[in-house]
């Protein structure tokens, strides 16, 4: 993985935003030469963060959802998904608590900052196994 490689995207935060953002992230991850299972899991976690954002951030006033991805070093990938809407933890809604659970199962570390919007910061192990 190339340290310093970076991807920044912003789209209107509607329910159709996650798919093209995932596709762009998939191309970015492929260029980093990560193992397929690692790429798929990162896409799942980021997809959940995106879904959380577009579903709840702007219930009345459309805004944007942003993705910042950066290869911090050879084995660490940092990805933030952020909006400036209202945080709504789907874990607090019956039947809707799966998203962040999945994110936490995949990422090495997750931090949710809800000050002035929502920033879900995820750190992933991106090492390719030897051999």
């Amino acid at each position: 993985m190339t340290a310093g490689a970076e991807l920044r995207l912003a789209r209107t935060a509607d329910v159709h935003a996650p798919r093209p953002i995932r596709n762009a992230l998939a191309a970015f991850l492929a260029a980093l030469d990560l193992e397929q299972v690692v790429r798929e899991d990162i896409l799942v976690a980021v997809g959940e963060a995106l879904a959380n954002s577009v579903e709840h951030a702007y219930l009345d006033d459309p805004g944007t959802v942003e993705l910042h991805a950066r290869a911090e070093d050879a084995t660490t990938l940092m990805i933030d998904v952020l909006d400036r809407g209202h945080f709504h933890d789907r874990e607090l809604t019956p039947g809707r608590g799966l998203g962040l659970r999945i994110v936490r199962a995949i990422a090495r570390k997750v931090h949710v900052d809800t000050d002035g919007g929502t920033r879900i910061s995820m750190i992933f192990d991106a090492a390719v196994p030897p051999g």
Binding site: V44, G47, A51, E55, L98, I102, A105
Partner: protein, 109 residues
């Protein structure tokens, strides 16, 4: 001789995320029969928690009507997502159709 209840098959395919929420909800409908239910996800390449939540509700609806339900999953990634969500045991999951049909017929696969 007992009557063979007809199988209800619901097939979904492609990338299923929040953008397909309404289409998935429209597809996940029980028929009027009383037979078992197979949800064929063999051609699903991506599914997020929105869809998993819809599958949970569909499972509950089927089981409330006394209908056995199974998921056919072709993507290892989808199977992992169920594990990450803590739902690996919430569904009867199969990676081949014959085993799913055996289960739905009430026999051990």
């Amino acid at each position: 001789m007992s009557r063979q209840s007809s199988l209800c098959v619901v097939k979904l395919a492609g990338e299923l995320d929040i953008g397909q929420r309404e289409a998935v909800a429209a597809a996940l409908q029980l028929d009027d029969g009383d037979g078992p239910v197979l949800v064929d996800l063999g051609e699903v390449v991506y599914a997020d928690s929105t869809v998993i939540g819809q599958l949970l509700r569909f499972r509950n609806e089927a089981e409330a009507r006394g209908r056995r339900i199974a998921l056919l999953i072709g993507s290892p990634q989808f199977a992992r997502v169920l594990q990450y969500a803590g739902l690996a045991d919430a569904f009867a999951v199969f990676d081949n159709r014959a085993a799913a049909l055996t289960f739905l017929a009430g026999q051990r696969p």
